[in-house]
């Protein structure tokens, strides 16, 4: 019992790669045991929305905002898939891991701090969101959406959006004391944002105040970026959309770390 790691004798800093890697390895190994159910729930539901709205409204409305309706919804539901696969995984997963499984206690007994734990958890959820977010796009291609080179950026847009929503979910898990209270957040934050992101109808059809509010909806910026990736980027506008997602990710990242540290460290 003398194989003390060489790392121990020097002072350890913040956001260290070995600590992030350790938490990520745990997530990846665990994911191997439940990837099927996770992939199913994260991709099938948005795909059902795509098919239902695409064919349902698509039979009534042929073109919206200059796009075929299936193309409009097909690109829009990428954001839905990203949202579903990030915010719910983060909310429920984090809560279960710190409250019921005590996994975070185990990890924090190793040389990992809360900042690294939260960051690595969000990174992994964001990677999954980036991948799962592509599912509706692939389905839309089957129904006539033409592939374009810009679509190669969709996983990155999904990753960035997913990171923000993962951090938001971890923040919610840290501030709420009961898993039953998550329904308040789902009903008052997640569902309204999901419905007013411009996924199923353009925000331009809403009253002006709702259009202004829509600019504060991170999911709207994801929807716009994905559409522009598919049909042509719009320069500064897309830079602003990216900036909004970066700000969302940074704010929720710091909030999630702060509140999770309060929860985990007495």
């Amino acid at each position: 019992m003398s194989a003390t790691p060489a790392v121990a004798r020097r002072s350890l800093g913040r956001l260290e790669r070995p600590a992030l890697r350790g938490v990520l390895v745990r997530e990846v190994i665990n994911f191997s045991s439940f990837w099927k159910s996770s992939a199913f729930s994260s991709t099938v539901e948005p795909t059902i929305y795509l098919l239902a709205f695409g064919f349902g409204f698509g039979s009534l409305v042929s073109r919206v905002a200059g796009y075929d309706y299936v193309e409009f919804v097909g690109t829009g539901t990428v954001a839905t898939a990203v949202l579903f696969s990030s915010v719910f995984s983060a909310m429920f997963g984090s809560f279960v891991k710190y409250q019921f499984q005590r996994t975070y206690d185990a990890i924090l007994a190793a040389p990992v701090d809360t900042e690294e734990l939260v960051t690595a958890e969000a990174l992994w959820i964001a990677v999954r969101a980036g991948v799962f977010g592509c599912a509706p796009l692939l389905v839309a291609m089957v129904f006539g959406l033409d592939p374009t080179p810009g679509m190669l950026l969709v996983p990155l847009i999904g990753f960035l959006t997913g990171y923000g929503w993962a951090c938001f979910g971890i923040f919610i898990a840290a501030v709420l004391n009961s898993i039953d209270h998550f329904s308040y957040v789902t009903s008052t934050v997640v569902t309204p944002m999901f419905l007013t992101a411009g996924t199923f109808f353009p925000l331009s059809g809403l009253p002006e105040w709702a259009q202004v509010l829509g600019q504060f909806n991170p999911l709207h910026h994801c929807v716009e970026l994905v559409r522009h990736a598919a049909f042509g980027f719009e320069g500064w506008t897309d830079l602003a959309h990216t900036g909004a997602l970066v700000v969302f990710a940074i704010v929720t990242w710091r909030l999630s770390i702060h509140y999770m540290a309060k929860k985990l460290i007495d």
């Binding site: 194989a3 003390t4 121990a8 350890l12 045991s33 439940f34 499984q101 185990a106 040389p111 007495d266």
Partner: protein, 297 residues
């Protein structure tokens, strides 16, 4: 002797409640120290202070030469922690659980396999490496928890109630494991509320009550100092026990109820005043009950 950890005047408050109250605690290198106390005495909070999962309001804590909480991460890299509550990844196999922690403890890739094998051997779980954690018995899960805390070859191990809730046979298996660890020179701080566990494994004990260390030292010396050498145990109906108790106290002896009997303590100096009963050597349980006012398990 150099210290693996030292706590000086540590205080931890939760609102109105003081969970740890000016606690002093030392673990000399290569020794096993038992942190003994009833439920709610502050043992688990003390353990959390040592991993910086709780931050002391007052006092100084040093672990393996690192000052806490500032250098807690470096301290955690060199120590292992076995928690009271089972927090294994239940859907992972035994080996996967160890592999995860081999990564978390930053064991270099070239040494990882050997480290896992060593931990499996120590916990005698080699033949269960591919079994999911949720398919293991309670004793095996506890052995896996200990193995997980040893995978990186720590210099210090914190064992928080390592055998709580286990049947006597499994408890003895774990004692053998902890004893082997001690024989390898690993410093151990073990919290427990089982007297026999502390008596068998600990070189020294610190007894906690209401957040304070009420006694520290070698078990035999503490018993001799606080209880005396001998006790007499008197059996009888409740009225008789009450009478013995009252008389003994009137004669200046300490007593304690032991289920169906009363123990009168320190009777080696009784000069014929001791009640009739079974004489026995005073023990750590007598000391524990005297100092904490709680029945031992």
């Amino acid at each position: 002797m150099a210290l693996a950890l030292s706590v000086r005047g540590a205080v931890k408050r939760y609102g109105e409640i003081t969970a740890v109250d000016h606690l002093d605690l030392e673990v000399p290198e290569g020794t096993c120290v038992g942190l003994l106390g009833p439920n709610g005495a502050g043992k688990s909070t003390t353990m959390k202070l040592l991993t910086a999962q709780a931050i002391a309001d007052e006092g100084e804590i040093e672990v393996l030469g690192h000052t806490l909480p500032r250098d807690s991460k470096a301290a955690r890299a060199e120590m292992g922690v076995t928690p009271q509550l089972d927090n294994l990844d239940t859907t992972l196999t035994v080996e996967q659980n160890l592999r995860v922690f081999a990564h978390l403890y930053r064991i270099p890739r070239a040494e990882r396999r050997d480290a896992i094998e060593r931990a499996l051997d120590m916990a005698r779980l080699g033949d269960r490496r591919d079994t999911r954690a949720d398919k293991l018995s309670g004793g095996m899960r506890r052995r896996l928890l200990i193995a997980r805390s040893l995978v990186h070859g720590p210099r210090l191990v914190l064992l928080d109630e390592p055998t709580v809730g286990l049947d006597p046979q499994v408890r003895q298996e774990l004692w053998a494991l902890i004893d082997a660890l001690r024989a390898e020179g690993v410093s151990i701080l073990m919290s427990t509320h089982y007297i026999e566990e502390a008596q068998r494994l600990a070189d020294t004990v610190t007894i906690m009550a209401e957040g304070k260390a009420v006694a520290s030292g070698r078990p035999s010396a503490l018993v001799a100092q606080h209880v005396g050498r001998e006790a007499v145990e008197v059996y009888g109906p409740p009225a008789r026990l009450a009478e013995v108790e009252a008389q003994a106290r009137a004669d200046g002896f300490a007593t304690r109820r032991t289920g169906t009997s009363v123990s009168v303590l320190g009777i080696e100096n009784a000069n014929g005043e001791a009640p009739e009963g079974e004489r026995r050597p005073a023990n750590l349980e007598d000391l524990f009950v005297m100092l904490t006012g709680e029945e031992a398990e």
